[in-house]
C-alpha cells in the first residue's frame, strides 16, 4: 500500500500522529519571549505598518465625515424609510457583533475544552472581539437618531421620572451587548497582565517601562498569584461561554419576537449563534493569515491552526445551512401560512432575490471546498474563502432584514430599499476603524500570549527526581 504523500522528516509534523505541530520544534522559553515581544519593543516599526495604518486612518476619516453629516442632517441621509426602518445600520450591527463571537469562542469555549492550539491565536481573537463590538455598538447608537441621548437606554433616576420597559428585547439587547463588551475587555486585559509584565521588564525605553509597568499592575509572577489568576481565567471562560451564546440569542429575539414573516421563528437563536461563530472564524482567518506572513510568525501560528479553523468554519457553516433549510421547510411545507409561503418565495425570486442566491453561494456552496485537506492547508485559498464567508454572512443579515421588511402583510405598504452613499461610507468606515484599532493593537500590545505559549513547550513539563534534568533553557 502506498504511504501517505508526506515528507518523512518534516519537523512541522508530529512523527506519531502525522498532524501538524502547534508550535515549531526547537523553541525555548527565551526564544518565544523574544519572538513575540520584539514585534512590540522594536524601535524600527516596519514601513508596511505605517502604510497600512495610514490607509486605515484615511478610512476612519471618511467614517468621521459620514457621522458628522449624519449628526447634522439626521438619519434621513440613509436609505431607511417606511417600511424599511432597519437598514444597513442594523445589518452592520448584527454582522459586527457576530464577528466578535469567534473571539470569545476561541478564548473561552476552547479553553474549557482544553484545546491547546488556541493559545497562539486567542489574544488577537479577543482583540478582534473588542474592536468588532466597538464597531457594532456604534450602530444602534447612531441609528436612534439622537445619539447624544443614548444614555436614556439605561435605567437611572431622572427628572422625567421615566424608566425603561423591561419586556422589550431591544432593552435586553442593551444589557446583553454592554455586558459582552465589558466582560470581553476585562478578559482580554486580565489575560494580558503577565505579558505586560514581560514587556515592562524587557522594554529599554523609559516611557515603555513606565507605561507597561503601570498596565502590568506590578505583576511579578508569584505562583500564589498565578494560581488565583488561573482560577479567575477559568471562571471568566466559564462565564463568557453562556454569555456569548446569550448575546446573539438576545439579538435574534429582536427579530424573533416581532410578528413579521421571516422574523417570527423559533430557529433564530441557535441559527444566529452558529452564524456568528461562522463569520467570526472567517474574520480570525482573514486577520491571522496576513499577520502571520508579515511578522513571520509561521512557527507559532502553524498550519495546524489554519487547518483547525477551516474545520470549525466548515462545521458551523453546515449548522447555518441546516438553519436555512429549516426556514425553507417551515415556510414552504410546514407552516400552511400564505404569508410565510410568500415571504420565502419573495426572498428567493422577488426583486431582491439576487441577494439570497449570493448568500447561498457564499455561505453554503463554496465553503464545501473546505472538506478538502489540501484546500484547508493552502493559506492563500483559505484567506479567499474567509473573505467569501464574511461577505456571505453580511448578505445573510441583509436578506433577513431587508427582504422581510420590504414586503410585509399589506401590499399597499410595500417598498423597496436602495442604500445611499452615506450607508456605504458608514459601513466601509467601520471596516477602516476596525483595521485602524487592530494596527494599533499589533504594534503596542503582545498579540500572542507569551505565558501560555511557554506553558505549551516541552521544557515546561515537571520531571521527577529520578528523571534526568533537561538541557537548560537556551
Amino acid at each position: 500500500m502506498a504511504t501517505k504523500d508526506v515528507p518523512v522528516n518534516d519537523p512541522m509534523l508530529d512523527p506519531v500522529t502525522g498532524e501538524f505541530a502547534v508550535i515549531a520544534p526547537g523553541h525555548t522559553f527565551k526564544s518565544v519571549t523574544e519572538e513575540i515581544s520584539r514585534i512590540v519593543l522594536t524601535p524600527h516599526t516596519p514601513l508596511g505598518w505605517f502604510f497600512g495604518f495610514a490607509i486605515a486612518g484615511g478610512v476612519v476619516l471618511m467614517l468621521l465625515v459620514a457621522l458628522t453629516w449624519l449628526f447634522l442632517k439626521g438619519v434621513g441621509i440613509w436609505a431607511i424609510t417606511m417600511p424599511i426602518a432597519w437598514g444597513f445600520a442594523i445589518v452592520n450591527f448584527v454582522w459586527w457583533i457576530g464577528i466578535g463571537h469567534a473571539g470569545t469562542l476561541i478564548s473561552a469555549i476552547l479553553l474549557l475544552f482544553k484545546q491547546g492550539w488556541r493559545n497562539s491565536i486567542n489574544r488577537f481573537a479577543e482583540a478582534m472581539t473588542i474592536f468588532a463590538v466597538v464597531c457594532a455598538g456604534m450602530f444602534p447608537l447612531i441609528h436612534v437618531g439622537r445619539p447624544w441621548l443614548g444614555y436614556w437606554l439605561f435605567p437611572y433616576p431622572n427628572s422625567m421620572n421615566v424608566w425603561p420597559q423591561f419586556r422589550s428585547p431591544l432593552l435586553w439587547d442593551v444589557f446583553a451587548v454592554s455586558t459582552y463588551a465589558t466582560i470581553s475587555v476585562v478578559f482580554w486585559y486580565m489575560g494580558m497582565i503577565p505579558d505586560l509584565g514581560t514587556l515592562r521588564d524587557r522594554s529599554t525605553s523609559r516611557i515603555g517601562q513606565f507605561v507597561y509597568g503601570m498596565l502590568a499592575v506590578g505583576w511579578r509572577g508569584s505562583v500564589r498569584h498565578w494560581m488565583r489568576y488561573e482560577t479567575a481565567s477559568l471562571l471568566l471562560a466559564g462565564l463568557a461561554t453562556p454569555l456569548v451564546l446569550s448575546v446573539h440569542s438576545v439579538i435574534s429575539f429582536d427579530f424573533a419576537v416581532a410578528l413579521l414573516p421571516g422574523w417570527h421563528t423559533t430557529i433564530f437563536p441557535p441559527y444566529f449563534v452558529a452564524g456568528a461563530i461562522y463569520s467570526g472564524f472567517a474574520m480570525v482567518i482573514t486577520l491571522a493569515i496576513p499577520i502571520r506572513k508579515f511578522y513571520h510568525l509561521e512557527d507559532l501560528i502553524t498550519m495546524r491552526h489554519l487547518d483547525n479553523m477551516g474545520k470549525v468554519m466548515l462545521a458551523t457553516g453546515l449548522i447555518v445551512a441546516y438553519g436555512y433549510s429549516t426556514e425553507v421547510f417551515m415556510s414552504y411545507c410546514y407552516s400552511a401560512s400564505h404569508w410565510e409561503y410568500f415571504m420565502m418565495w419573495n426572498r428567493m425570486f422577488g426583486p431582491m432575490g439576487w441577494s439570497y442566491w449570493v448568500l447561498i453561494t457564499c455561505n453554503i456552496a463554496l465553503p464545501q471546498l473546505l472538506w478538502s485537506r489540501k484546500f484547508r492547508q493552502n493559506a492563500a485559498l483559505l484567506f479567499i474563502m474567509s473573505l467569501i464567508v464574511n461577505s456571505g454572512m453580511w448578505f445573510e443579515r441583509f436578506v433577513i432584514i431587508v427582504t422581510s421588511l420590504t414586503r410585509d402583510y399589506l401590499p399597499s405598504s410595500w417598498g423597496t430599499y436602495r442604500a445611499t452613499r452615506w450607508d456605504y461610507m458608514t459601513f466601509a468606515g467601520t471596516l477602516g476603524l476596525f483595521t485602524f484599532l487592530f494596527f494599533l493593537f499589533i504594534r503596542f500590545l503582545p498579540m500572542i500570549p507569551m505565558s501560555e505559549i511557554r506553558l505549551m513547550l516541552p521544557q515546561a513539563k515537571i520531571r521527577a527526581e529520578a528523571e534526568p534534568l533537561p538541557e537548560a533553557g537556551d
Binding site: F187, R220, W226
Partner: protein, 180 residues
C-alpha cells in the same frame, strides 16, 4: 509608613521548573513557610510545593454573581411594579420571564468583574513597587525564562548564612540577597 531596611530575603534562581519545584518542596519540608516561587508562567506544582492549595477567587465570583442577579431582578421588579408601571399589550406588571434575561446578563457581568478584580485584590495588586524588583536577575528573568525561589527573612527559620547554604545545596544559577 516607616521605611523598612535590611534584607527582604534570599532569592535563588533556577533554569528549569523541575529544579525549582524540587527546591521548593525541600524548603517546605525543612520547615520554611514564608516563601514564594516566581515563574514566567503558571507552574501548578510549585504552588502545591509551597503549600498553596486553595484560593478564594471562586467564592468571590459566586457572591458577585448572586449580587448581580438580585440587583437586576430587584430593580426590574421595582421599576415595573412601583416606579413606572406600564401596560404593555395587557401583560402583567410582574412579567418575570422577561426579567430573567437582563438578570442573567447582570449575573455574568457582576460575576466576571468580581472574578477579575477580586483576583487582583486577593493578590494585593496593583502594587507597582516590590522589593524583589531590586534584584537585577529577577527583573531580567522572572517574566521570561527563569524560575525563582525566595525565602523571606521574616520566616522564623531564616538565618542568612544557614539559609544561603541550604539554597546552595540545590545548585541554583545564583543566590542573591534582596534588600528592602
Amino acid at each position: 509608613m516607616p521605611v523598612r531596611e535590611g534584607t527582604y530575603g534570599l532569592l535563588a534562581e533556577f533554569d528549569t521548573p523541575s529544579q525549582l519545584v524540587r527546591a521548593a518542596k525541600s524548603a517546605y519540608n525543612a520547615g520554611y513557610r514564608r516563601m514564594d516561587c516566581f515563574t514566567p508562567y503558571a507552574v501548578e506544582e510549585a504552588a502545591e510545593a509551597i503549600g498553596f492549595h486553595r484560593n478564594t477567587v471562586s467564592l468571590v465570583t459566586l457572591i458577585g454573581g448572586l449580587l448581580g442577579l438580585a440587583t437586576m431582578f430587584g430593580m426590574e421588579t421595582w421599576i415595573s411594579i412601583w416606579a413606572f408601571p406600564l401596560n404593555i399589550a395587557g401583560r402583567p406588571y410582574y412579567s418575570w420571564p422577561a426579567f430573567v434575561i437582563p438578570a442573567y446578563e447582570w449575573t455574568i457581568l457582576w460575576a466576571g468583574l468580581s472574578a477579575a478584580f477580586g483576583m487582583l485584590a486577593l493578590c494585593g495588586l496593583p502594587q507597582p513597587y516590590h522589593p524583589l524588583f531590586n534584584a537585577p536577575n529577577f527583573r531580567n528573568g522572572a517574566s521570561s525564562d527563569k524560575f525563582f525561589l525566595c525565602l523571606e527573612s521574616t520566616d522564623p527559620k531564616f538565618d542568612i548564612v544557614a539559609t544561603r547554604g541550604f539554597l546552595d545545596g540545590f545548585s541554583p544559577v545564583s543566590v542573591v540577597e534582596v534588600e528592602y
